[in-house]
Amino acid sequence: MERSKGNTLIVIGLGLLLMITIIISFRLGRYPIPTKEVLGISLSKIYPIEQFWTDRVEMVLINIRLPRIILACLVGCCLSAAGAGYQGVFQNPMAAPDILGASAGAAFGAALAILNYGSSFMIAISAFFFSLLTVSLVYLISKKVKGKSILGLILSGIIVSSLFSAATSYIKLVADPTDQLPAITYWLMGSLAGAKIGDIKFVIIPMTIGLVPLLLLRWRMNVLTMGDDEARTMGVNANQVRFIVIICATLTTAASVSVSGMIGWVGLVIPHLARKLVGNNYNHLMPASILFGAIFLLLVDNVSRNLLTTEIPLGILTAFIGAPFFIYLITREGRSIEY
């Protein structure tokens, strides 16, 4: 009981941390806005306050920073929730959208749609379809690999991912270098630079549809980590739960990728960090991953837009932060991440 209460406090703490990060993120930028004005403008939307800020400040805050901050939070929580979900239902701590090929598939789908001058809706649909296809392929191939399941999953992930990356490269080769190629290239690097309110309206529904079941089924995911046979004898329909979780995790991944492009590492690193904080029980792990993912991507996005005069694409930053961090994680406590 004590342990569980402690974890609840950690989750609440993460929630508060996210609030603080959001407020700080509003302040940061080429056009600094003091906290007082940030709070004033936010409050004025629900409660009439006399305006003590300029219209220009409000414009920057509402039209530029707000969508970007919301989107960073959404993409962060979706990618890490998807990673935590995949890890549970594949009974595999190495599962993540990048490793399962979900990202590579989504990238190919999106590039294909850009090549055919698809609308942003078509880009998202195509991204979703191909990421689901790659995840299914990786799963089916890994089932056929003899021996260690973790190795099988990673190997088939590498195979299918590189296949789709090659296909994406081919699309880049044939794409129109004046408009399509830059769009695809920029998109593959991952960025939230062009975030608009419209983007949020566009992804909020698929993201919610994906996230809610991932949260609701979190206890069932615990049981699934015991393996299919054990889960079944405990009265849990492993195949059904796995199917729902894969669909939902892939939906959230694809929705994220369709607005932000390829942002790697979040889905692998954040659930691991959350595991270190609250343990492996999905009751706390799933909310902690979601909040942590939002905080992480928001922080990284702040670096991305403030560190240099030109924007650094997010995908590049998450890799620069994620890879060394993950090396640290697996070497420092190799024993407690029992592979």
Binding site: L216, G227, R232, T233, V236, G279, E338
Partner: protein, 268 residues
């Protein structure tokens, strides 16, 4: 509670793994299934637990054919205790046991106070309450086996199926685990276990089924069927069987080892 298996046959392709298996187990009975490796014990268990469907014959739990039962209905009747293992993720002992209550709650909810109390009671009953906040992978093999047993108890199914619960345990833990299993059977559970140890099988079981090549070689109370010939038929090892404590226990000693040694000593 009862389990009744009649004319059970199962084949993997051409390879017949179970051939006309018949047995029953009632309340208060500990049934041990004895037989060499690869004899079809695991396949038999998977059939009984509803994990394998392509069998011929009939499996009745409480007189109900399991083919007509859903996953949840099955879980309320029969629980499975696997050999202790290393799961992909480390859980606390408490959370591990709590998973056994999943069948009592809806798919989209988490266990509540009622389920947590069940877990506390089961941990106390098996004497492992002090481990509740420890990590499952950080405790000993015997303790892990007891945790899995506790998980089956909170499932509140009255038939327990155990896959070699004492293999990989040291002698002390074997006795501890078997004693718990025996007392569960006395309380009204129907327990089926597979095992490799003839001496312990005799000591603890109410019924024994000896299996070879997918067939039932012998079936009955330990006193009826336990002979040196049976052990030879099962394992191909000649044993001297000794009765102890007015036949409350029988021990098997492999002849070849002792007698070879004996000859050696005589001649030198």
């Amino acid at each position: 509670m009862s389990i009744e298996v009649s004319d059970l046959c199962f084949s993997y392709g051409e390879n017949r793994v179970l051939d006309q298996v018949n047995f029953t187990a009632q309340d208060n009975q500990l049934l041990s299934i004895l037989g060499p490796n690869g004899v079809g014990k695991t396949t038999l268990f998977r059939c009984i637990l509803g994990l394998l469907n392509g069998y011929k014959g009939q499996i009745l739990l409480n007189g109900i054919n399991i083919k007509g039962l859903g996953i949840e209905e099955m879980a309320k009747l029969i629980a499975y205790i696997p050999q202790f293992h290393y799961p992909s993720f480390n859980f606390s002992v408490f959370d591990m046991v709590l998973m056994g209550t999943s069948v009592q709650i809806s798919a989209i909810s988490s266990p509540g106070i009622k389920q947590k109390k069940l877990v506390d009671a089961a941990l106390k009953r098996l004497g492992i309450y002090h481990l509740k906040n420890r990590g499952y992978t950080k405790i000993s093999g015997g303790e892990r086996q007891l945790v899995l047993l506790a998980r089956a108890l909170v499932q509140e199914a009255k038939i327990l199926v155990m896959d070699e619960p004492t293999s990989n345990l040291d002698f002390g833990n074997q006795v501890r685990v078997l004693t718990e299993i025996k007392s569960l059977a006395k309380e009204g559970y129907t327990v089926i276990q597979s095992t490799h140890n003839p001496d312990q099988t005799f000591l603890f079981s109410d019924r024994v089924m000896a299996m070879k090549d997918g067939k039932v070689l012998a079936w009955g109370t330990p006193g009826e069927i336990f002979t040196a010939d049976l052990i030879y038929d099962l394992y191909g090892v000649e044993v001297e069987m000794e009765s102890l404590y007015h036949d409350q226990a029988r021990v098997c000693i492999p002849k070849s080892i002792v007698e070879k040694d004996y000859t050696y000593r005589c001649c030198s």
